[in-house]
Symmetry: C2
Subunit: 413 residues, 2 copies
Amino acid sequence: MNAEIIAIGSELLTPYRSDTNSLFLTEQLNRMGVEVVSKTVVGDDRERLTAAIALAWKRSDLVLTIGGLGPTEDDVTRECAAQALGRPLHSDSQLAQAIEARFRSRGVRMAAINLRQALRIEGAAVLPNSRGTAPGQWIESDGKILILLPGPPRELEPMFESCLPRLREKTPPSAICRRVLRITGLTESAVEEMVAPIYSRYSNPATTILAAPGEIQLHLRGFGNDSSEAQAHVDELFPKLEAAVGEYVFSTDGASLEETVGRGLVARQATLAVAESCTGGLLAQRITSVSGSSAYFAGGVVCYSNRWKTEWLGVSQEMLEARGAVSREVAQALAEGVGRRAGSTFGIGITGIAGPTGATPEKPAGLVYVALAGPQGTEVQEKRYLGEREVVRWQATQTALDLVRRALQQRGR
Amino acid sequence: MNAEIIAIGSELLTPYRSDTNSLFLTEQLNRMGVEVVSKTVVGDDRERLTAAIALAWKRSDLVLTIGGLGPTEDDVTRECAAQALGRPLHSDSQLAQAIEARFRSRGVRMAAINLRQALRIEGAAVLPNSRGTAPGQWIESDGKILILLPGPPRELEPMFESCLPRLREKTPPSAICRRVLRITGLTESAVEEMVAPIYSRYSNPATTILAAPGEIQLHLRGFGNDSSEAQAHVDELFPKLEAAVGEYVFSTDGASLEETVGRGLVARQATLAVAESCTGGLLAQRITSVSGSSAYFAGGVVCYSNRWKTEWLGVSQEMLEARGAVSREVAQALAEGVGRRAGSTFGIGITGIAGPTGATPEKPAGLVYVALAGPQGTEVQEKRYLGEREVVRWQATQTALDLVRRALQQRGR
């Protein structure tokens, strides 16, 4: 079974908004073994929307529309779907009564326009909306299904979840199993060289490499008649890829690098404090984005000024003058100083030039020193990251977190 | 003139990736007065892609495809576009020579598959790729234009920019002017009530309200035969909306709240330091995400532990015990303490429960105290934010930055 998603709304055709509902729907559909083969975005334009629904209905087994179910003149999905399928649209008396009752109970006079939401395509089942006023619709014919869903994610998600049991009955027994290997410290081409000779021998699971700043992901999708068969395909290849990439793998269950580090710190009853210059709080923010991080995060200092580096973290004035704030020595002193101040197992120090301002010929934008002080001593890495300010900052925090991850692994051995 | 965008790639049909290139293209096209009327995502599937290009070519004036121009078997855009337009595909000898030369210069033997990138649709002009190996193509016929662009944003963006002068010649003289009013401290419905009676009297410019956590945006789009006419329409309505919303407007030129605060601090030669508990570095990270922020950011402390609150920031042990770390008094003491430590004009203190862990019946998740200490004394706000951990953290930083913005405005008067 294949599916097609049509997202409706003129705001989705501006430079500011993109459709994200389809990611949720795709995830749910994939779990049932349903592949999404096309996505379309159209505005509140009757002619184009009718054509889009008609085309999708002709070529796909399952069509999902998102949005355009509100009460205003711009909300044309009901009319267009009815026209595309060649079915009349009726006012549903039960829906109309419910809408009127809702207004009455709030003591508000109902504008007639609200009755548009009571329009039902002939033969459609109504999908109640637990969190809003726009009901959805489910139309089935000739082995095909069309589902009209509302646009707001908090309304769409529970409504679509309520459709899953019925959808599962209609889909042939097939399943997709996904698993992701998350990697840091290698380039995309280096990972490709390590794993392509292995995964290219398998058509099931399918393997995709995705690259993000400071991270490479290997996505595996296994297909089968049921989820255990799909899982078995993934389970055969996954450990081979994991072994090939080795120590650069930081997560095999989807966990982020900060979650992986958090789990490791908890497991070893260790704590962490950070002193950041060029990353400006991003490292602390990533660590504390994990709920429960107060158990292992001892504190963070964003020390743009030299005064704090000396007064609070004990970096010597002489070193700052002789080596400069962006130097291997200052990174080390920051890591050791913040660990001492916090009384934590580990201390991280980061100093560098995030750019675009502040660069010099000797110290270009992207030059960053990352230090980790811990029970095994202090390690400092010198990095030259490429990219914009935020990309440099992000990569520096990846390096810092990965140093902690690796130190925890060594301690665990 | 209207445009249609087709993004190509199976990874864009997974739950993990969505097309973002189209936002860039939409912005560029809108500036020329070209409206995007439809967006489609298709996988690396010859039949569907050919059908999508053929349909777009039939109904739209300008068709842009994104991706599928690499050298592998999956890269089928050239073939599909040729088929959709009913034109043959030839090997371009100049392109082929350039590809061979590139490999020779790197001393690498070229696999034959790379010559796929030399295939050119009959009548197409080649668009050089300054940052990659995949050339684009420009096909014009019957007053319509098809442009094939590569997928990586850093390759697509300069290539499309190089197309702009030629596109401008082809587009009838019409322009769209956009301007955005950014607001914080009000709900969407409150803003709607303030501005709907005003903007609903204008069909040009068109006004859209978008809501994000801690922020409401009013987007105005003016239409005209040239940019000054479009601009004039926006200029008539914009100040009326700005006046209606008043002090809640933090930006009229697109600047973020942290940029607005940064400009204000620079203008008044003031500095800022922050002490964060529940926001965990997010506030410092936002402030320092602005290039040049070292001129006014004096430092940040992420003080999860009470020890740092007392030792470094001077919060008294008695207060922590009597009031609890999440209290009005501690927020105030943090703000004053960090300002004193940094010797800065302003100090911010934030303490609260970001959730989901750490909540109690008296102190529920979402309860946050935000304090600003400055020359006019110290102000503390008690907030109860709704939403997930990251949404609570974000809103708390909005409140903090807005306190600084307002204090700077008062000083400026």
